[in-house]
Symmetry: C2
Subunit: 359 residues, 2 copies
């Protein structure tokens, strides 16, 4: 079992702008999978040198490909979340949303998914049934078809109930190509809903922690919001990103680095549900670093901001959308926040581990 | 650890045409992942009712899709092989070959792959490096690009070193669509090389078994053979299949069922390496049911058989290609073999477990 106490100390340092020395490992550690700096190091030092190619080097949410006469977005994600079922969803629903959202963030309409199951011997058929039913419903709701699959079973003690991989493709529109390197000074930063729900729902569902309220995951498909944004702005969306592992803070830092711009946020504008805030305070976590699975960040030129915000709010998943700040030319590659008390603080990348196995 | 002795008893019954009663399980068992009848039952009863759609119902090696103006083949496979490194290959090489071969069997040229890694905490970086290097080399050799990836890490004891998912897409040719339901009486059945090497290489690499010789896996990419067959026959290839889990026997049974034809094989013509045969006899296995990862079965009209065979033999991977039998109108949905001793025997689907975790 993963207990919160084993991760809280390192996560509690979130927000400190401490320099982290390069760490050489001769074995893989949990932090290599948590989506933070160690994950980036593993990718850069172990995968990229061998797999290096122009598509992979883009490091977008999904790859952009030309096949025949079509331009496609293609992405994959493996889900190892524990517990398999949690308030607001389960691993199957998450596996659909995760990959269709990565495709949607490229501005592509998700069309087809494949899925690979690794089941630990002894998994209850009832759990499996519920997971599969959720996947099917989540795909159907988006008009996405699951076209191929594969199932492997490993012995007891060689897995952890169920891992699910999904891979997907979507069709790109020639006139619509939001990208992390397209942020421009004066762009308005929009956030489609309250943050921190998915990560804290998972934490609260783990045995050791007893919260008073049940926090439900925000897991949701984001293509409808993307499509609405595209229409409302006539395609003038510079950046789209779903802040999953690493939360809003990590996503904004990645965009600032890719576009060589700065981000100036207004803390008071960022919606954090009361129960998420209370749970974060109890565990020493900063909600800016907690994973979301049904929220997007969009950066749009100021003249399109009102229309974009209205389009987001017109959809149930984006009903609580807000402006949270501006892209600035000052302090490039740095995310800065005006705090509740009137000061400013730097919102850095997480130096170490984030919550493990939340997706 | 998986020992051979736990699977040999049920596998040893391979070839017996025994009726197997429907088995209801309330938990997943190892056999659900082994590619035999239980796997088919799991797919039919648990996945298909929820995911049902015309593409999935085809149950080809890969899905056939139309995206924009292009026709694509898309497939996925997850690899849980143990040990991770074995004579002739490793899990990374296998993960590339497995998925590109599924795409190639549809007659499509494999183009792009995604990959998802689930790493158990503590995996040696040296092993990871070798696996990644092999994947990259296998992809490069085929002109396939790995365009997206994802890495998750699970705690010690929650995984088994490394699981790798690959998903891929390939471009279909409008004039070339081999399919399991296209087998026709009088078609010649070709086999591109000796059988049983992959499965027995894995078995021999597991600790408990000491063979005198080292059997090497046949893992290889098959698109070059498919492309050669297409050219040599002007596209007149009715069926292509790579007999992986379940071996040649299972692949032929599936084709017989899909095309409502019978298969008549000549046992003397089927190449089984001496060391594979010896190892199979020692373990009570039938090489016809042992997995291959670099062999294909092709069914072609008799007038194209010579050209097809010559095309296979012209490539190193198909140098030992042979004719192994004919498609017949008699005994539809049944695979029959003329044995070495002059009799005939029915080559049935495996009733139960096959070798676990060989891919």
């Amino acid at each position: 079992m993963t207990s919160a106490s084993t991760v809280a100390p390192s996560v509690a340092s979130a927000g400190l702008n401490c320099a982290v020395p390069h760490t050489a490992h001769d074995r893989v550690v949990l932090g290599h999978g948590s989506g933070g700096k160690l994950s980036a190091q593993l990718f850069r030092e172990r995968f990229l040198p061998h797999f290096d190619n122009p598509v992979l080097r883009q490091q977008g949410d999904a790859a952009v490909l030309t096949v025949g006469n079509s331009r496609l977005a293609m992405s994959t994600d493996t889900f190892v979340v524990q517990p398999l079922e949690f308030p607001g969803g389960n691993i199957g629903m998450l596996a659909v949303h995760g990959t269709v959202n990565d495709i949607a963030m490229m501005g592509a309409k998700p069309l087809y998914l494949t899925t690979g199951f690794v089941i630990e011997e002894g998994l209850s058929m009832d759990v499996l049934d519920r997971v599969i039913a959720s996947m099917a419903a989540a795909a159907r709701e988006q008009g996405v078809t699951i076209v191929a699959g594969d199932t492997k079973v490993v012995e007891r003690g060689k897995g952890d109930g169920l891992f699910i991989n999904t891979a997907g493709i979507g069709l790109l529109d020639a006139d619509f190509a939001p990208s992390a390197d397209q942020a421009q000074p004066d762009d308005v930063i929009l956030l489609s809903g309250p943050i921190g729900r998915h990560g804290m729902a998972i934490m609260s569902a783990r045995e050791a922690i007893g919260f008073d309220t049940t926090i439900t995951s925000d897991t949701a498909a984001l293509w409808p919001l993307v499509d609405a944004l595209r229409r409302a702005t006539d395609g003038h969306v510079h950046v789209l990103r779903d802040p999953t592992r690493g939360g809003v803070a990590s996503a904004l830092n990645e965009i600032a680095a890719a576009s060589n711009t700065g981000m100036m946020l207004d803390e008071a504008s960022i919606p954090v549900p009361h129960d998420v805030l209370a749970a974060c305070e109890m565990l020493g976590l900063d909600p800016m670093y907690v994973a979301n699975e049904g929220v997007l960040v969009a950066m749009v030129p100021p003249e399109y901001a009102d229309a974009a915000l209205a389009a987001l709010r017109a959809h149930p998943v984006g009903a609580a959308a807000v402006r949270i700040g501006r892209v600035v030319a000052q302090h490039p590659r740095m995310v800065v926040m005006r705090t509740h008390v009137g000061g400013t603080r730097i919102v850095d990348m997480l130096p170490g581990d984030q919550l493990p196995r939340i997706c």
